[in-house]
């Protein structure tokens, strides 16, 4: 059966509040849109931005379809950096595409 190519994904896999882990060994290589320093880190979904053409496909001449959900993911700074010097309430918020996230 031919894979259905819809421009709009069906539903977001995660919802605000969900714990997520950024993939540590992603299948994606090359021009990626997820910073390496977050790989393997656990955060939580702060919000869902919507669905966008996949930039990792667009970067190599693809059509970016199907679209990917983009999330705003929140991380505790003290959990990201061993010697974080700021407050325990400090946060880092990063835009991450769904195919980089797994349940945390």
């Amino acid at each position: 059966m031919a894979r259905r190519r819809s421009s709009e994904p069906v539903a977001a896999k995660f919802k605000p509040g969900d714990r997520v882990r950024v993939m540590a060994n992603p299948a994606v290589r090359g021009h990626v849109r997820t910073p390496g320093y977050l790989q393997g880190k656990i955060g939580s979904v702060e919000g869902i931005h919507g669905a966008f053409r996949n930039p990792e496909s667009l970067a190599y001449g693809g059509d970016g379809l199907p679209k990917q959900f983009l999330y705003l993911v929140r991380f505790d700074q003290v959990r990201l950096w061993e010697k974080y010097g700021g407050s325990s309430q400090d946060r880092l918020l990063v835009d991450i595409y769904e195919h980089w996230l797994e349940p945390g």
């Binding site: 849109r33 997820t34 910073p35 320093y37 931005h49 919507g50 966008f52 930039p55 983009l70 705003l72 700074q77 950096w81 974080y84 010097g85 700021g86 407050s87 309430q89 400090d90 946060r91 880092l92 918020l93 990063v94 835009d95 991450i96 595409y97």
Partner: protein, 210 residues
């Protein structure tokens, strides 16, 4: 020209070999597109001039309106692009803008660790430091230390929220309205808003400092 006269150096820009390569590639691509009749040199010039016409002044108008009109601020925080359009500012087809608000309790600062994502349609070209590896690699690890270097020392009770805009979102920080500005109109208020305060590495000018 990189001469050192009158005792102080005049910095110049030296094209790096890689830059020259990419420039040649862009030139070749542009020449080809023009030759094939897909674009004209005039369209390229117009697009460059359109981008050059963008400046932080657009952003300062948005912030000043948000300070004076709570309903506008609510719309700006909910859907920045349409709220900004109310002021006659079109941020462009590609950009999706998200506005975040700095208060006495929360301070946002924006970075793009992967490249230089920036709300160009609203603030114009990003400053060089925003694109530097130094800023991009350090502000996520030690935001308070980096902000201190910008002259902004935050109280430990203030929550710092670093926004790493690595994808399709472009962030605009609405700085906190300075005290003593209750009588000021929108235009005067816009004059207090700086580019850096809309990135989050600085506060606004104070009413007195003007």
């Amino acid at each position: 020209m990189d001469d050192d006269h009158e005792g102080h150096p005049h910095p110049t820009v030296q094209d790096a070999p890689e830059q020259a390569l990419f420039e040649r590639r862009v030139d070749a691509l542009q020449a080809l597109l023009i030759e094939k009749g897909l674009i004209t040199a005039d369209e390229v010039r117009q697009a460059v001039e359109e981008m050059d016409s963008r400046s932080p002044a657009l952003g300062t108008r948005v912030v000043a309106r948000a300070w004076t009109d709570p309903a506008f601020k609510a719309r700006l925080l909910a859907d920045a692009k349409s709220a900004i359009a109310e002021l006659g500012i079109d941020v462009g087809a590609i950009a999706t803008i998200i506005a975040v608000e700095n208060t006495e309790a929360v301070h946002h600062v924006v970075v793009c660790t992967l490249c230089s994502c920036y709300p160009r349609g609203l603030l114009g070209y990003p400053p060089d430091w925003y694109k530097s590896l130094n800023y991009r690699s350090r502000v996520v690890v030690d935001p308070r230390g980096v902000l201190k270097e910008f002259g902004l020392e935050l109280d430990p009770d203030v929550q710092v929220r670093v926004l790493d805009s690595t994808a399709d979102m472009r962030y605009l920080v609405i700085p906190a309205r300075p005290a003593g500005t209750e009588q000021m109109g929108e235009d005067e208020l816009a004059g207090l808003v700086t580019r850096d305060s809309m990135i989050g590495v600085a506060k606004t000018r104070t009413a007195r400092a003007r």
